[in-house]
């Protein structure tokens, strides 16, 4: 049976030669405490391993691109990490954006004529263009029930990273991370109002928290 030292060195050599080496192929060759030891050592190596050199083609095919895309919207926007969080929560809850909007509108007691406005605000939350500080607890509580997290979790995410005010610099800076993940993208932007709409309770709920 190969010894742990030899396997660890082979793993590191393969990983440095271009890798990434697959730990499982090495772990399969040992058992018992040897296996546990090799696993711990490989884990220790990976925890200390330097950043891998960037490869734009591999990045484009990697799940890392999706995370970079979401993070780019979050870091460049005004909504904290909502652009990284909300599409993934929605995806995990197996809900389309239209489903979330409809349920959110119901929870907020929106009239039929106000559903498009709810859709626009929710879209802005996912795109990182709606200042998080203005969104009321009532919206976050309702949204949390729909996607399965607490309102506090959403509030915390809204406070994290990105800008605190809407602006173009951050959006421009992170605009070219990648194209949106097709799993989360749905065709069609929320319809813009045909004419200026009077400010109503929906606007209040999404933009006026903390102003009273």
């Amino acid at each position: 049976m190969p010894d742990v030292d030899k396997l660890l060195h082979e793993f590191i050599e393969e990983d440095r030669a271009g890798g990434p080496a697959d730990p499982r192929a090495y772990l399969e060759r040992v058992e018992g405490t040897d296996r546990a030891e090799l696993e711990a050592l490989i884990d220790g190596y990976l925890a200390r391993a330097p950043r891998r050199p960037f490869d734009s083609e591999a990045f484009a095919r990697s799940p890392a691109r999706v995370v970079a895309e979401e993070l780019g919207r979050a870091l460049g926007g005004a909504s904290g990490t909502w652009p990284a969080l909300l599409p993934r929560l929605r995806h995990r809850a197996q809900l389309r954006r239209a489903d979330v909007v409809r349920r959110l509108a119901d929870e907020l007691g929106a009239r039929e004529a106000q559903v498009d406005k709810v859709a626009r605000y929710y879209h802005e939350m996912e795109r990182g263009t709606l200042p998080a500080a203005g969104v009321s607890d009532r919206v976050l509580e309702a949204l949390g029930r729909i996607v399965g997290v607490t309102a506090q979790r959403l509030r915390d995410a809204g406070r994290t990273s990105g800008g605190t005010t809407p602006g173009t610099a951050g959006a421009v800076a992170f605009a070219r991370v990648g194209s949106p993940d097709p799993r989360y993208v749905e065709p069609g932007e929320p319809p813009a109002p045909a004419a200026p709409e009077p400010r109503d309770e929906i606007d209040q709920l999404f933009t006026s928290a903390g102003r009273d």
């Binding site: 220790g44 799940p63 780019g72």
Partner: protein
């Protein structure tokens, strides 16, 4: 005055400098912020993913990796991370794995944790989520930790350790590594590893 860097220059920056560059590029509205972010995410993805795959069922690996990488970078970007980026990333990874089991498989980490944990972990918390390697490393002096890093995790030789660590001989280096490995096996045989499948 912001000076944009090209891809080759960005690749040469260490992680913390890359995060600093992202902040400056964002303020300047310069699109190289996106490239810096891509370099950081891509560069750590495979290492985090493989660490998580060692501990977590395959169907959860990609999601949990995304959570960890996103959390670590977001908190480093907004200045709420603790210490160097790579250590912070390790802390977030261990917490995410420990939490995966604490909360029960199948429940999203996003469901249960604050987005980012901005505060420094308490000593008790840090100990609780340490894995066997970190527990054993924590018992070593700093110079001995460095020897272990060079020889065991860096694939170096005792001669490399002698060159890099003052006051260490090749014989010392071998002894330090042997003691570390014996202590690690004792730790593993005691079954104290956290979060292992």
């Amino acid at each position: 005055m912001f000076r944009p860097l090209d891809e080759a220059e960005l690749q040469r920056l260490d992680d913390d400098a890359l995060v600093g560059y992202m902040r400056r590029a964002r303020t300047a509205g310069h699109p190289s912020a996106a490239l810096a972010l891509a370099i950081l995410v891509y560069g750590h993805w495979a290492n985090v993913e493989r660490r998580i795959r060692l501990k977590v069922p395959e169907s959860y690996v990609e999601d949990l990796t995304g959570d960890v990488v996103a959390d670590a970078i977001a908190s480093a970007f907004d200045g709420t991370s603790v210490g160097e980026f790579v250590s912070w990333l390790g802390t977030i990874t261990r917490r995410a794995i420990a939490d995966f089991y604490r909360r029960g498989q199948g429940r999203s980490r996003l469901e249960a944790l604050p987005a980012i944990e901005p505060e420094a972990p308490s000593e008790e918390g840090a100990v609780e989520i340490r894995d066997a390697i970190e527990r054993v490393m924590a018992t070593l002096r700093d110079d001995h930790q460095r020897v272990v890093d060079i020889i065991v995790f860096g694939g170096g030789t005792a001669a490399d350790a002698v060159r890099e660590v003052a006051g260490v001989t090749e014989a010392n280096a071998h002894q330090i590594v042997s003691r570390f490995r014996r202590a690690l096996r004792r730790e593993l045989e005691a079954g104290g590893d956290t979060g292992s499948t």
